[in-house]
């Protein structure tokens, strides 16, 4: 009834349609198939071995062969240290004042989060996605959606775990979203990744005051990232009359190219709204 060519064309069309449906279903969420951790467990030990070898070799190079520049750097660091000591004294005074004011206003003391340090052992094989693989997993108490941070700010969140390894989606990934606030004006929006070194700060209303240089912090409303953690600084603001929201670019504090260790927050302090849901 049908020619062979016709059947082939219909077959290809059906295959493409099924393919698109499956991809659109998996794109909107990160389904945990259970057996996904097998691949991670298979490849990650080799990645860990190679990464450690590279770091060892680099360590030898930096520790023994770069001593010429170390002397100059030492002088420079001594100067910086004196400056920092002065600053530190000022901050200690401010901290004491802050503590006094907090107790006066009966503010709840900030809970110190329990964190676990993990080493980055691999990066995403694709240039279109921004994830890293770390050397801690379920056996260390990690699970999906726990936040990963570094001293500079938020790095990302865990999207997959095996027994001893985990996959972390960075905030610069296009699928990442962080509920955030401008520290100065408390303008709220969503930080989304762009794959580049910058993020977009979306859904910030035109009426809100946002300026270049403003610090953007996590709001805690998403129930993933602890409130107040730094994300980045506003590097560009565009206001168009015809639009409801501003176009804001945020440069993250974290240098994702040089990310070697992260801290996983094991008990993220969730906002009341998120924990009620």
């Amino acid at each position: 009834m049908f020619s062979k060519k016709m059947v082939l064309i219909v077959g290809v069309i059906v295959l493409i349609t099924v393919n698109i449906i499956v991809l659109s279903a998996t794109t909107k969420s990160y389904p945990d198939f259970g057996f996904g951790h097998l691949a991670l467990s298979f490849v990650a030990p080799f990645q860990e071995f190679v990464t450690r070898c590279i770091r060892f070799a680099r360590g030898i190079w930096e520790d023994y062969f770069f001593l010429v520049s170390v002397s100059q750097e030492n002088q420079h660091l001594k100067k910086s240290l004196n400056h920092v000591i002065q600053k530190n004294n000022q901050w200690q005074e401010t901290e004491l004042a802050n503590l006094r004011l907090r107790s006066l206003l009966n503010f709840q003391k900030a809970i110190t989060n329990r964190v676990l340090a993990a080493e980055v052992i691999g990066k995403d094989p694709s240039a279109w996605f921004k994830t890293i693989i770390i050397d801690k997993g379920k056996a260390d108490g990690l699970k999906r959606w726990l936040p990963a941070v570094v001293a500079q700010g938020i790095a990302g969140q865990i999207i997959g775990t095996s027994n001893h390894y985990s996959k972390v989606m960075l905030i610069i990934d296009r699928n990442s979203a962080v509920d955030a606030l401008v520290q100065r004006s408390r303008a709220r929006g969503i930080i989304k990744g762009t794959l580049a070194d910058q993020c977009r700060f979306e859904y910030v209303l035109q009426k809100h005051d946002v300026r270049i240089g403003d610090i953007v912090v996590a709001s805690g409303f998403d129930g993933v990232y602890p409130k107040g953690l730094r994300i980045g600084w506003v590097s560009d603001v565009i206001k168009r009359d015809a639009e409801i929201f501003q176009e804001i670019t945020v440069t993250p504090y974290v240098d994702f190219e040089k990310l070697e260790e992260v801290l996983i927050v094991l008990n993220p302090q969730q906002h009341e709204f998120a924990s009620q849901q």
Partner: protein, 179 residues
């Protein structure tokens, strides 16, 4: 033995592109090194042998990457199907053609990824660096793709020779022991 070679080669390529290349300045936007391998399988291996590896590699890469599950599987499967179809009319031995085929494979994968990112992903806007990333990857693929193909084929031949020697050695041994 041949599957050990395949696994070893794939593992080395995956580790190269996840632990070493991202830290090197010129190679941080290199193409997926498994593409030449898939093309090699399409050109020189049977459907049954190739398809198993294509599915296995797709599964591994989907789990290592932050991509939606099935994206690498999709790109590898369509690439393998395309190469198998192309072998019906393409002269496999031509180096320039090999470069073109690898570059086309990289382009196909990038188109699938960009399509998934923009049409079925959460954000309709194209990534800002999409154009430059694709161009850099294609240039890398054009320059280095045939090297991988030649290398895979060379190792394959050596392994085949080795296997033949082992098999003939066993046959001679069994014949002499019977006498």
């Amino acid at each position: 033995m041949i599957y050990c070679f395949y696994m070893g080669a794939c593992l080395i390529l995956v580790i190269l592109q996840t632990t070493i290349f991202p830290y090197l300045p010129l190679l941080d936007r290199c193409y997926d090194l498994l593409i030449p391998f898939i093309i090699y399988l399409g050109f020189f291996r049977s459907i049954r042998e190739g398809l198993f590896l294509v599915l296995f590699l797709g599964f591994i890469m989907d789990n290592l990457s932050g991509s939606p599950f099935g994206l690498y599987l999709t790109s590898y499967c369509w690439l393998f199907i395309g190469i198998k179809w192309a072998t019906t009319f393409v002269q496999v031995g031509n180096r320039l053609l090999q470069s073109l085929v690898v570059a086309s494979g990289v382009l196909l994968q990038n188109l699938i990824f960009i399509g998934a990112l923009t049409f079925v992903g959460p954000n309709l806007k194209l990534p800002t660096e999409a154009g430059s990333t694709v161009v850099i990857q294609i240039l890398w693929a054009f320059a280095t793709g045939p090297v991988f193909l030649v290398f895979f084929r060379y190792i394959q031949r050596r392994l085949d020779d080795l296997m033949k020697e082992i098999v003939s050695g066993r046959t001679n041994f069994s014949l002499s022991s019977r006498r």
